[in-house]
Symmetry: C2
Subunit: 200 residues, 2 copies
Amino acid sequence: MTVTQIEPRSGVAFRLHEGQTLRVIDPKGTQVSDLLAYSAADVREVISNGRTFDYEETIALTTGNRLWSNRSQPMLSIVEDTAGRHDFLLTPCSEATFRHFYPDQPVHRGCFGNLAEALEPYGVEPDMIPCAFNLFMNVPVAADGNLQVDPPTSRPGDYIRLRAEMDLIIGLTACSAYASNGGSFKPIQYEVETEAAHLS
Amino acid sequence: MTVTQIEPRSGVAFRLHEGQTLRVIDPKGTQVSDLLAYSAADVREVISNGRTFDYEETIALTTGNRLWSNRSQPMLSIVEDTAGRHDFLLTPCSEATFRHFYPDQPVHRGCFGNLAEALEPYGVEPDMIPCAFNLFMNVPVAADGNLQVDPPTSRPGDYIRLRAEMDLIIGLTACSAYASNGGSFKPIQYEVETEAAHLS
């Protein structure tokens, strides 16, 4: 089992085969990782927050929940989750969101730009990037519907394990936005477990 | 000003020019209407619940809020809203959602199928249909994140007015799902107001 590190404010893409499990780790705590999933057979099939909210009947997704595609197919099952708090409401940070929320800071291409570059070799165009499943992101929604972006509650070493329910292309980042990560940018780590390795 | 009726469980698509205002009416009350918006210049630019939640900082959208595109541009501004309750969390009902939620009822193509057919002449493929802005839809989210689909609280004649901030292709339905509409299927009405007409 090899743990791969995603450096601060960067992103990667890779294949995840059906039955493999992806473990995403927040090694230092308080760090968000944006996760995207596309069907390897046809990247027009993509992870969908709306289909997921519909079928799972919750916006608070954790162990036991599945993440669904725009074609109503399960893509990933959350099989373990030591953090327990993630967000699926918001889109990846981008040049436009930096200009909007941080007008006094240098503009960064954000998770959106990092994902677009990493996914381009797989035939994913920028307009095909939907809401990401934002691991460890802490977005409380008040009773009146107002939302805010708070620092993640994840502690060093917290992780989430997701099993692929179909052959996937995964996009994964170490998030680049100030508020989402409690003001500092840290790495993310991940490893891909095959079913046999996990059972042994 | 011509009021057009969308018959129960059907949908339409039409152009809405920048500066025009779309008024969508629930003539009998307790009826949902799924709304989609695409840039007329390039239909790969599309309404985005995540970008909207991000910039508006709420999931409870009403008068004064704007609906944003995946390219971080304002598409529509809500300028009047007598209903005050809409949903932007869930995807349009479809054959798959009918099979999932209503296994004992006949399968219907739902808002998804109605929107796909109406939008096809504009170059919109089914996979390009995201979460709709679900007018009059009542989806309370509990403190623990669980959501449920309750009957709309809209009364006969309630309406919402949205001003186009760019040239748009609009998709609009009278929703086909049981729970979303309190168990019965009713028409939706709409009219397009030009700026001059509204001021006169």
